[in-house]
Symmetry: C2
Subunit: 309 residues, 2 copies
């Protein structure tokens, strides 16, 4: 199967000028542009943890495996250019399903002008495991880190949260284009993408920055699917879904108030629901102002399974 | 376990100057040196395919997972500087075993001055799967490809072959230092590392170069372990082990005759058993001159499971 898959891949991948040598040798050769840094991220996804083989469309599974990595690049304000895909395929998988998995990767790669520059294809007696490495570039010193938030910064979220289990975990569009626009438009102090839930990922950003925050409950953007899941008897309120579900792959940004205003206006102009949800503080607490006016600690909820670095 | 593993890793990795930001953010930041290209390779290894969990020492398993990637960089004459490790750990794995696995990676990384710059740690209901990405650098245009062999080039092998199943699959030293020395010493036209067997990997190099070869059976360097396995009743001759076993992680180089002589003398001076095993030809056949003087096609044997790109 592996050789057939490689043959099938031949000529189907987008070509990026920074990739001097792609699939086919012992390694790929990349020619980074002078003045740019290379941003590298990797995520491993596996059956029964990140998707259900046999239930979800293989093309959507493939798409997700690349998309979560592009989301990490977006969180660094990096422009993606190359990806590497390693597969552990169950021996029982059909060639058509493996093709469909790769097709999902290739289509998203093309959309974001990413070259599939290499990988490693294997079969084994185990569940499907997909590892993707995505590489991007930023002008020197311009990457967004988690660690740059400053007291007084506004906290902004780029879209509605919660309920991603229903569909968004597969259909989300990594905020790459938005991040690249905003990088030019405004001085962003810190950023993270929401993979494990708003509360958990916000706490990571703030911990890296050595700050706290005051978040306003009424301003948390809640997705329709969070309401739908709650109505359908999930046992959680829509707000709880929004705060803890994860896999929204929206960004949390910390940026000066004047800049936040510019960014929100720009986003609204482009039909994006970007929301100011609170302020970075000097304390080491993350507090939530409830709709009632009470202030309490932001709940420590989120998906703690995966720890990507 | 994942958070504990990250905490334990903190401060244990070698730091490389080209890595501006390592473990801990959404992605790593690399600052490639001006005038250098970035070489990227990835290999996924898994239980019951590349090692036996419960039989082999976890530290040796970890070491192998990085070493096979460094071998790919050696085959490109690249100096390694960063690695990314993704893990799918069986839920039953103890923290001590996971530590030991990482320890094997970290020790080899330190030996080769490679920074563990990121990764992704997960647990799942399946066998251990380890994906490693290794990155290196070469001065612009100086990477060795598979595709540069020319008729008349000598084919050189950097060490004894066969029987790696006994020990060498875990203990081999990737030929990084040698490759970097030789890159400065001599004009190497093409190179590949022997992961899937001499015959198969030689055929890949020659196919990429559009050439054939004439190999002399008597000059194939055969390892002691190939003899030992044969004596112990493997059902193969020592030569068959040498030609087909794979996981030797020696290099096959194609280079002009005068240069081959320099390289072999240099290697012998340094205690390395580098051998001239034949010549690149204009035909598209790979032929073997037997000890008897007969010429026949080189057998098409080797380990076809993995196809790394």
């Amino acid at each position: 199967m592996e050789q057939d898959l490689l043959t099938w891949l031949n000529g189907r991948t987008f070509h990026h000028a920074c990739v001097t040598l792609g699939i086919g040798d012992d390694a790929a050769i990349l020619a980074p542009r002078p003045g740019f840094e290379t941003i590298v991220t990797t995520d491993m996804l596996m059956d029964r943890v990140d998707f259900l083989w046999g239930t979800h469309d293989p093309a959507l599974i493939g798409r997700k495996c690349l998309a979560v990595n592009l989301s990490d690049l977006a969180a660094m304000a990096a422009k993606p250019f190359a990806a590497f895909v390693s597969l552990a395929l169950p021996r029982s998988m059909s060639f058509e399903d493996a093709q469909r998995l790769m097709q999902g990767i290739l289509e998203l790669a093309k959309e974001f002008q990413v070259e599939l520059a290499g990988g490693d294809t294997n079969t084994h007696d185990g569940p499907l495991v997909v590892n993707v490495v995505a590489m991007g570039e930023t002008p020197h010193g311009r990457a967004w880190l988690r660690s740059g938030a400053k007291p007084g910064d506004r906290l902004v979220v780029t879209g509605p949260l919660g309920g991603s289990l229903k569909a968004k975990q597969f259909s989300f569009s990594p905020r790459v284009r938005e991040a690249l626009q905003w990088r030019e438009l405004a001085e962003v102090h810190a950023a993270i993408d929401i993979s494990d839930g708003f509360c958990l990922d916000l706490s990571r950003l703030l911990s890296a920055s050595g700050c706290g925050a005051l978040v306003r409950e009424v301003d948390i953007p809640i997705s329709d699917d969070a309401f739908a899941m709650s109505s359908a008897g999930s046992g959680k309120t829509p707000l709880e879904h929004a705060l803890g579900d994860g896999e929204d792959f929206e960004l949390i940004l910390a940026l000066p108030p004047s800049v936040a205003r510019i960014l929100i206006d720009h986003a609204q102009h482009n039909g994006l629901q970007v929301r100011d949800v609170g302020v970075v503080t000097q304390s080491n607490e993350i507090l939530l102002t409830k709709a009632s006016g009470e202030v309490e600690p932001l709940p420590a909820i989120g998906y703690l399974h995966r720890l990507s670095t």
